[in-house]
């Protein structure tokens, strides 16, 4: 299916993985794809998203709490404290033996993967492209797929009070086949 993606759409997917990685997220959701589209100022979707008042900072803010980082963080530290475990002390001892950052290096370098909704959104993007008679799957089809999949990205847009019907119309009229 990827060979039918435009260069921009492909870039959005790889950038979504990168964005998830930066945030310490193992799961790559449609919200990460949305963030990638906004961040890269994608030409096919940028205008419609900007007109809807969607920018990277707002997307990131709306994403907060949707995914948990896959490494030991402040929340873990607090939870361990409730068991009487002092993570700072553990970290200190481990680092004394194995060097700085040793405990975090031990955190699983798990492979990232698309969430179920994100996979579904790609399928829906293909369907949108077919429906709109696009010869390839562009970023606007990706975004339409994200909206149709009603996953994380859709919820982020809804949280930002985006008029989804208007956004959809803008995306649908964006490209002539």
């Amino acid at each position: 299916m990827f060979e039918r993606f435009t260069k921009q759409a492909r870039l959005a997917v790889t950038e979504a993985y990168a964005a998830a990685g930066e945030l310490g997220h193992r799961q790559v959701g449609t919200d990460h794809v949305l963030l990638a589209l906004v961040r890269e100022a994608d030409p096919a979707t940028g205008g419609a998203l900007a007109a809807a008042g969607v920018d990277a900072d707002r997307v990131r803010a709306a994403m907060a709490g949707r995914h948990r980082p896959d490494r030991l963080g402040a929340e873990d530290e607090e939870a361990l404290r409730s068991l009487g475990i002092d993570l700072a002390a553990v970290r200190e001892r481990v680092e004394a033996a194995f060097g700085p950052g040793a405990l975090d290096k031990g955190t699983r370098k798990a492979r990232q993967h698309f969430t179920k909704d994100a996979k579904k959104s790609l399928e829906l993007a293909l369907r949108e492209a077919v429906r709109l008679k696009h010869r390839s799957i562009g970023a606007e089809d990706l975004l339409l797929g994200i909206i149709r999949a009603e996953g994380d990205g859709y919820e982020v847009l809804r949280d930002l009070d985006v008029d989804l019907a208007a956004l959809r119309r803008a995306l649908e009229s964006g490209r002539a086949a």
């Binding site: 361990l80 068991l83 475990i85 993570l87 031990g106 699983r108």
Partner: protein, 70 residues
């Protein structure tokens, strides 16, 4: 639920939210330590068999979990 009830539940450890989160954090910490120590053991020339025995799991289990990344 009142604030007092909330506090009591958290303190006695029966609030599932707090308890489950603590269990998750503990698992993450344990995973982290295990990975670090398995790496260390391999570096010191330990066999997968010896590591598995120390962790009280099968050789296959430890190999499957770590062989590809070490």
């Amino acid at each position: 639920m009142t604030e007092m009830d909330d506090l009591a539940a958290a303190a006695s450890g029966t609030d599932p939210e707090t308890g489950l989160r603590a269990a998750l954090a503990l698992r993450r910490l344990a995973d982290s330590l295990e990975r670090l120590q398995v790496t260390n053991a391999r570096r010191q020339g330990w066999s997968w068999q010896a590591i598995a025995a120390a962790l009280e799991v099968s050789r296959q289990a430890v190999h499957k979990k770590y062989a590809r990344e070490l």
